[in-house]
Symmetry: C3
Subunit: 154 residues, 3 copies
Amino acid sequence: MNNLNDKLKQLGIELEKPSVPAANYIPYNVVGNLVFISGQLPFQNGQIPIKGIVGKDVTMEQGIKMAELCALALLSQVKNACDDDLNRVVKVIKLGGFVACLPNFTQHPEIINGASDLMVKVFGDKGKHSRFAVGVPSLPRNAPVEVEGIFEIN
Amino acid sequence: MNNLNDKLKQLGIELEKPSVPAANYIPYNVVGNLVFISGQLPFQNGQIPIKGIVGKDVTMEQGIKMAELCALALLSQVKNACDDDLNRVVKVIKLGGFVACLPNFTQHPEIINGASDLMVKVFGDKGKHSRFAVGVPSLPRNAPVEVEGIFEIN
Amino acid sequence: MNNLNDKLKQLGIELEKPSVPAANYIPYNVVGNLVFISGQLPFQNGQIPIKGIVGKDVTMEQGIKMAELCALALLSQVKNACDDDLNRVVKVIKLGGFVACLPNFTQHPEIINGASDLMVKVFGDKGKHSRFAVGVPSLPRNAPVEVEGIFEIN
C-alpha cells in the first residue's frame, strides 16, 4: 500500500464530496494529531438510499451496505482534513457505530462490520480501530446507520 | 469577542453552579489540553424542568430548550476546568447528543442544534464543533436530552 | 495503593483473558498516552451470564453486576495495553455506558455505577472518570450493558 490515494481508485472507490452541515457544527475538528469526525449518515449522490429500522424495514445486507456508505463519508471527511492526501492517515483510532433497530435486534456488530471492513480494505493494518456498536431507536433523517470516527494523522 | 466571561453577561447567560455527581465519577477529566466532560442533563435551578420523550411528551421547541440547558451545563463545567476563565477555551472539539425519542422520530439534529447554537453564540468560530446526534429510548431521570463534550483549553 | 497488580489479587479480582474481536476491529488503540478501548460486553468465562433488557428481563442488581463485568473487561484490555502492568495507568479518563432498556427506564446511572465503582475500587482517585450513561433499545448478543473507555497511561 504505497499510495492510498491511488488505492481508492484501484478499489473502485469514488468518494462523495464531503458533506457540509447546514447547522452550527462542522464535519470535523483537528486537535493535535487527532481528527474528530462528526457522526456520518449513509449518503450516496446526496441522498440516503435506504431508510428505516434494520431488521424491520432494512435487511441485514442493506444495513451492512449503509454502514459502508457511512465509512465512505468518514473517508471523505478525513481526506479533506488531510488536504486531500490520505497517505497522511496514521491510524483509524475509533469508530462509534449506531444502528437503528428494535429491542429484539442483536446483530449490531455484523452491521457495523460494513464500516470496519472498509477501513481495513483501504488502510490495511492502519485501518484497524477500536469501536463500539450499539442500537438506537431512530437516527436523523430516518437513516438506518450512523458512524462517527477518530483518526490519527500526521 | 475579547472577554468571554463578560460576553456571557452581555448575552444574559447565567450559569448554574456546576453539578457534582453523587457517584464514583466526576464531571470532567483534563488530559493534556483536552477536557472530557461527562454527559450533562438539562438542569435549571437544580431540577430538570421538562421531562419525557421528545415528540411524545416533549415538543420540539421544549426539546431544543432542554438541549440548550445541557450546553449551559457543559459551559459551567468547562469554566470550572479553566479556573473560571472561559477565555482559556481554544475550541469546542466535539459534542455527543442523545435525544430520548420513539422509533419514528427523525429530527434529532434540530433538537441538538439547541446545544450547538449556544456554543457558537458564546464562542463564535471557536464554538464550531464536530458532533453526533442520535436517538435513545430513555435517559437518566427521564431527561429528554443528554449532551457530552470534549473541549480544547490552554 | 503501591502495586496495582497486587491490589487486584487483594480485592479477589481475577481478570478474564482479554477478548479478541473476530472482525476487522481491535480491542484498543493507543495514541500518545491515551488508550481508546472498544465497547466491552459483560463476558464471564467466555459467555454473557445474564442477557436481555434491564428493568424487564434483567433486575437492577443483575444489571449492576453486568456493568461490573464490563469494567473488568476494560481492565483486562488496558492491562494488555500496558504490557500487563496496571501501575502504568495514570487516570481513567472516560467511560461511555450503554444500558439496554425500555422507554420508561430512568435508572441508567445506578446501573453504570457498577462499572464506575469498580474503577475507583481498583485505582482509587486515579479511577475517577467522566462518563455518560444512556439507554439503548438493544445491544450486541442481547447483552444488557456495554461500556467503552478511554484511559491515560504512561
